[in-house]
Point group: C2
Chain length 191, copies 2
Amino acid sequence: MPRKPQYNIDLVLTLAIDIFLEHGYHGAIMDEIIFRTGFNRRGFYLEFGSKQAFLYKVLGHYQSKYLQELMKNLESKQGLDSINSFFTEYVSHVKGKGCLLINCITELGFDDETVRGVGRHYLDSLQIAFIGCLEKAQNLGQVQPHINIESTALQLTSYVQGFAVNAVLAGDTDELQLATQALLGPLAIKQ
Amino acid sequence: MPRKPQYNIDLVLTLAIDIFLEHGYHGAIMDEIIFRTGFNRRGFYLEFGSKQAFLYKVLGHYQSKYLQELMKNLESKQGLDSINSFFTEYVSHVKGKGCLLINCITELGFDDETVRGVGRHYLDSLQIAFIGCLEKAQNLGQVQPHINIESTALQLTSYVQGFAVNAVLAGDTDELQLATQALLGPLAIKQ
DNA sequence: TTCTTTATAGAACAAGTATTCTTAGAAGGT
DNA sequence: ACCTTCTAAGAATACTTGTTCTATAAAGAA
């Protein structure tokens, strides 16, 4: 039997996330991908077929490793606390880098139906997760009873995307943490 | 004296906005830029020097023609009404396309200091404009007196960036208009 | 009209980049 | 120890794309 591969697909995908975050899809060149992931060209094309197919794999990996993990905060449906911890973790995740999925949407969304589909699905999931948390929060009496839950959830979803953009520019994230408080504060019932 | 140019720099810059919006910076190739703007290669390089320099010009043009125009709504400082009309116009501006500046930030922000600078300046202006409006609104008794103006302004600024991303995906923008109402509603004093 | 100047169109060039191919060598089976 | 099989490294290829160059023609001045 032949030698075994030295690379680890999971690690390659993880390392590639940063490369695409830094340079975008078209700006990330194969030489850097090969070099920084420690992969080799032949193996790369045997494994993934093309740069584009590779991006899709990286995006999928990014979602399951990070985005879905972050959303678990919301799925525990503990009301406002869940929303709070989601934002705290999200801000620290995107700090100084932004979000790979958001970057792909803005760079490729117009031309790439696959990316658009993934993006829509992500935003939908996020909104649904927020709705679940808000309903719970309402039941717990944590938020004003009169708010429109769907609109508020959409609103929170927009915030998340806004943070992803801001994070690329913001040196420190104290600002963003402050914004989170300002954002969630008005929802809560004043004690 | 020689013949006069048939192209119109202003028009070229305006047409280029859509091209960069559709394909991003690296995805927009010179052939399409030349073709769709009706420019010619030689003239292009005499006038702008390079694709990168051209992007900066297009970005500047985009800001003065659209972003600053939209912000005038806020500068009139008529309180909540100004904020409302800003959002209405903004949503209709980014509908189906997104915002060129935001797209450039997410695609190039990490590598391009110029773009980062322009982006920061834009977000700052926007936040300051919101602050002006909120102060006015507070003086007019249109909003709750206890809200933290700076935080609320930052919150609104994040929201704007979220819309820019959502708009790339959203077929219709009714959703976004609804979210805006949900957002601004709680600020206002109930009548 | 004729001459000068410069825009136009697109061919040519050169740099960059995704993909394929070649060679050498490592890991295990017999 | 030897052979097979597949990986590793990177050279080579083919294509894309930003930039420059050339030839043509149009617009005005004298």
